[in-house]
Point group: D4
Chain length 249, copies 8
């Protein structure tokens, strides 16, 4: 239910076309969609046409299908499903053939209206080639949320000239997402080269004393560069969501 | 050396008033001030009148004094000294009586020009009364960096009505900094109430299985609310610096 | 051996109908059933008709079968088998076709007498849809232990209105079990809304710096809300057992 | 503001004796007392005459004094201040000479009305003599909250006969709080001996691989005895608060 | 090469029957058997007829086969292979059909001479049924090393009467090995009941905050009972080896 | 109460010289001495003249004094007080001038009867000079418990010849206690050189990634040498107690 | 592009045979090869004929193939692919049949020119047989990088004579790489026996409190022997790369 | 005892001037100096005039004095005392007035012969000003060990131009020691800029999720730059010792 529908309802109440009781039940519904196993938040649409988001990991397939169905019936928003395996995609595709699968990013998008696109750019930067899946989760998310997205991959600090020869690309961005595993030092160097907010995503790429991304996470949290904030390990989605908020201020 | 001085120098080169060699040495100097024990970065002033920043913890008193002196001689920027004990303040005060001490925030400010202030507001929110020192580090920093700052203290989630009755205050902010120790759940709840970027600062307030702020840090990194990014434990300065960057985009 | 049988035995001793020696061997047996690989505790039945409980994870299939057989022969109590895979269920079903499988909860119940049900309600609340398996372990356990059980799922704090619009449901409960992964903040908010004991169950749902449920566990242990106690990660059974004890005081 | 005052106010509104506007401001006040650095929750008194609680660690002395003053002015409830050093006690005593210091428990009580006492007993049990400070925090708290409290100290499992010869004392309790450091095994053994809820408090007593109470905490969380829930390391207050809730159901 | 062979060789040198050079090469060989990928220690046989031991985990199958072959050729000692999967057993069986597989203990024994058996007893005690595989690794090892071994399984502290009714069994042992996962409290209680050395083996049985056996390990290391020493998580072999040394002093 | 007194009492019952009721109260007392804050275990004396032991860390001074007084009154055993600061010694000395302070070991001994000494030797070995305080805690304890004790200090593995040239000293011992911090490798090397049980004591000596003794602890638990068991970090007392039990089998 | 090609290009610019603009684009290319998903660093060849290196873990198969193709086209250097599964080898073999698979080391080498070999020796030493895969990663890498490599396997400290009888082998090496899991004490002992730099590689071999190699890592970092530096767990490649640098100084 | 004295002794044996027995006792002494609490290793002098080294932390003052005295009597080597507080220096100065105190480095040097100096340079680089104490421990150690030492301080990666404008200084070094706290990214960037071995020293500088240097340590261990090895947190001495070995190959 978007702003228009809400206004219509209130006008109908005003005009006496609908009973107060009925309107109340509708408004109650407005709060969230009740499925028993899930309570779907519809507040978001009252804002800027943000898509509905489903985090798929750990959810039963029938639950995911039920949530998607409910969303399709309620409004015409796009739907963004993250951490979606091939199996999850298949289950969603059974519900709607508008579902598209971004395999490397493990994202399913049900695109039902065009993305609004700001011109200000979010740049997604990775330390290595292995960080690309997380970076793509961020990039696809940022695109679905309506941002122009740039990609600058494999510019890790151990070959610093690869990064430095792209300084201009860095400086043209409005918000930068740095994605790096192992020692995760990329965020600090990028943070020192630009005047824009940097969101750092540690990845679980690495082995041994990497401890599942802990090394990159601690590195980024302890950065001596100012202007860097951090999200959870491998959380490309979260970085893009925050970046998009900032990009659209 | 600010933009004006830089232009002057280049013009003098153009007019043949100074030798190329001399100009080079000046430009070299531009890169950073060399003190042996410290290399002071002057790039920052080429930007928006940002102050010089000194992180005092772990630095020898004579080193801090030397750095401040060097800054005072080089330009007319404000100087922001964080993690400054009373002893550090005294040492700085010996160098310049313009030094002011914000005791609770452990910040020394050497104010030499007025702060430029944006109207858009950064709101600093704390879970408890014990989190105030970290919150004040953030608030003072944000003020020195030229932002309007609001404070909303002691609205932790265990008494959720204290937070909910301030929803309007939350929604009027452009960027929100949430400061919380113990379980650090404040960030998640605030993140669900607003459409603006939230920067979460875990604090070391707590005991036992708090493990020096680890519980709040992990809580914030794992937030299921979108739009939240995190900085290091007790890092009020870093949160404010990022928030200021975002607020001034 | 229940209270009645015990009294009979003692009366027979008194009347000289059984030898002291024989009675002793019977009483010895009373202590526990000896299977070599297991010593089955029968003290529990002397209490309130509590079921026998088997924790199946890590036990060999033939051991589980032997334990169930022994229990079936000893008395008429219900049997509750937790952490039971499909394979474990099959093995138990070979022993008794009264075995029923609650798949999502991974619980097998061998129901041999009706549950006694108290009217006071235990409410099981989850932060998300992915937490449902742990919540169901708690809910089924609480039902088998003879409690009225309510379910309120997917009311995580990032969309706080979903929880607040259910305040009345929360307040009608006598004991509340909160089940949440990721940042696990649900327990703190619920704890602030009610006057009843809250048992918090952290789940391993999440990724990255969740570290297998550590983030939710630490969050709950450090809750600034009073009246919250915590059980092990994913321990729905333990929470329900304690809640049932409290509910039946 | 207690139930009576609230009813009076509403009656005055009904009778037209006070303006709606004035009543609203009063009710607004009802939510919490605003001190700037603290927002004091007064909801609690609407319940069972529970005392006001101040957690003193990490709070500035002037803040603590301000909070106590505010509480003294608002109502006639008792005030319980935990984690209070001698210095904190002195500061509170300056504000009110009704303040009493329980030194071993590090608790200050400002007693202004008699405790209501239930007959059902909460028993506080410790593994060793060194655990007594935490146990006393629990015991004093439980007494102030209106419970009959028993103490059974130094019955750790390494000399199990000390515990077993007190089985009757254990079984007469309605709720048991077990307080233990080092390996923290006391909770499991007690849990196996009684049919009542057990709340386990790990303490930081120990050294080396005790890691500040981690060993006892993990031990208690992993207890194979049913009916045990756990609170934070050294959190005697929290255990007593939950125990009191359960004891008064 | 055992003591007898060594004496023979030295006598032959003395009598001039073998060249010094040849004896040297033999003695050099005595030090260890050189296989390139392994250096097999034969010093052990100079002692009490101890078996050769191979830790199989992580070793390539052809390496294990080569080591066994080498041992078979060198002397007539028994061979004990720990952490042996079914696949490893098959590989060893290809080399010698004297290989016997103890499946639950994951031990392969190549028995070539009778075990010498001391009358003094090593007792292996477990907290639960799931701990049996580790306990069997200890028990089988102790038997192969020439000890009388008793087993007392599933006497965890949550049902303390199961342990107490076996006090006599405990006190008749000369050395006790306690095997327990979860909270691992068994060691402390046993340690308080007997006057004999107790070797505690934490197991990885458990889940959640068990962290792969860490909870039991820390519990045992922090035991407040005297006379307890600890080995690595799941290290049944190591416990039995030490116990056997002690039992044969 | 020792064996003789116990026999006397029972004889008096037999002869009718004391009432059953009185004897019972005496036997009850036998279990432990009740001080309220402590329950003192007197079972130990029924064994081999073992001393009473008080772990002083974390105990209040008046509690320690009370416990010592109680012990002095009950029997004539020696008393061993570990982790005793100078302040603790002074407090004990107020109670009895028989108290002697071993400063480096932080042990107070109240010697009231001669130690019985076995000829079999316990050897205490350290990796470095800094490990001596922990080693002395072990050595003094072992002496008070009636063992012949040898000391071999500063033979860490980085200068392996210092250890190897003492092989004979190692081999003459009946039980060996190895005390080492930093990497703690001493236990593995010693374990490979001898056929006797080795008890390893990790110490907290070191810095950085030593993490308070964790590095040495993990090293010792993971030793690839057989025959090694481990006690808590810095637990010289525990190692000596176990060693003494083994030495006196 | 090697030194020769670079000189040619510059000469052509000098002679006017190529335009400055074209040369610039060539030099730009020199920086790195741009593949979108990877930026391949060609600086390395300007040095000593070092091979190109690809770390394969976590990279998509098509990305690896693309990178190898690009390298084959650019120059004639050898290519070293680490952490390569059989599947990765197959993919590379599709691109070039010069690919050779070192299965135990999980290394693929595309050998296109002879290795230059220094006479100074790098010795690779392991504690056990299970450490061989990591050791072989180091040994093969060192050979491809142009070093004479010695191997000394299974000389762990628990059988110290195996190591000591190879002292001469150790002392003849110029650089030593010690590879060990479990307690990782090998590095300390070797470090005490030689005057040459020792690079320690902890391995993840072990179980329980080994925590994936943490025990060996901490042991090596805390070594009390001088002259030891450490690389990541299982990082045979990194150790060999550093050793080669040192060996070729 | 140096090479010359050793040869003399052997010649005297050959000539019959000294008894074999006496020579043996001398050679025995050669192994190490026996002080009871310490065994001083004199092997080192047989090498290149390396100084004696004493790690002072945790050693008793009288032990340190005893060790220094012993060294002074035995030969004419320099003595290097690390981790020496002012108090330790005073104690050493009592023994010899040749002791000099490097306060920032916490090093005492007893200089008795001139350092031999190689021309090849070891460069010590720090990320910040606060890392200087650890850097000075490295620099002074390297000087005493006979190396030419360069210092490049405060060139952390957040202001990368400070490092890049010193590329030439980096490339002129033969071995580089990078000293950095917080995120410790300096090592990776330096490693990518040079072809020489880099030894990384993490420091404990930082706060919060720095966890006493853990963040920098993990960062350095996981560096994606080749040619980097790591030492313990704050271990400037160890880095310099290894660097010196490499520099003198």
């Amino acid at each position: 239910m978007d702003n228009k529908k809400l206004t219509d309802l209130l006008n109908q109440v005003k005009n006496g076309n609908v009973e107060v009781e009925y309107a109340l039940s509708q408004l109650k519904q407005l709060e969230y969609g009740e499925l028993g196993y899930a309570k779907i938040d519809h507040h978001r649409q009252l804002r800027n046409g943000y898509p509905e988001v489903i985090y798929c990991e750990g959810k039963a397939l029938d639950h995911i299908q039920g949530i998607v169905k409910h969303m399709l019936e309620r409004n015409n928003n796009n739907i963004l499903c993250t951490r979606a395996s091939q199996e999850v995609f298949n289950a969603i595709f059974e519900v709607t053939d508008k579902a598209l699968y971004h395999e490397r990013a493990k994202i399913v998008v049900v695109k039902r209206e065009e993305y609004k696109v700001t011109e200000k750019k979010i740049l997604v930067v990775t330390g290595g080639t292995s960080d690309i899946p997380v970076a793509e989760e961020a990039a696809i998310t940022a695109e679905v949320l309506g941002n122009t997205v740039g990609r600058l991959y494999d510019v890790g600090v151990a070959g610093i000239h690869r990064l430095l020869s792209n300084t201009k690309v860095l400086q043209e961005a409005n918000v930068i997402i740095t994605v790096a595993g192992m020692e995760g030092a990329l965020a600090s160097v990028v943070g020192g080269l630009v005047d824009k907010p940097v969101i750092a995503v540690p990845t679980s790429i690495g082995y041994g004393a990497n401890f599942g991304g802990l090394s990159a996470l601690l590195c980024m949290l302890n950065s001596c560069a100012s202007g860097i904030t951090v999200v959870n390990i491998d959380n490309g989605f979260g970085a893009a969501y925050s970046a998009s908020m900032i990009n659209n201020l």
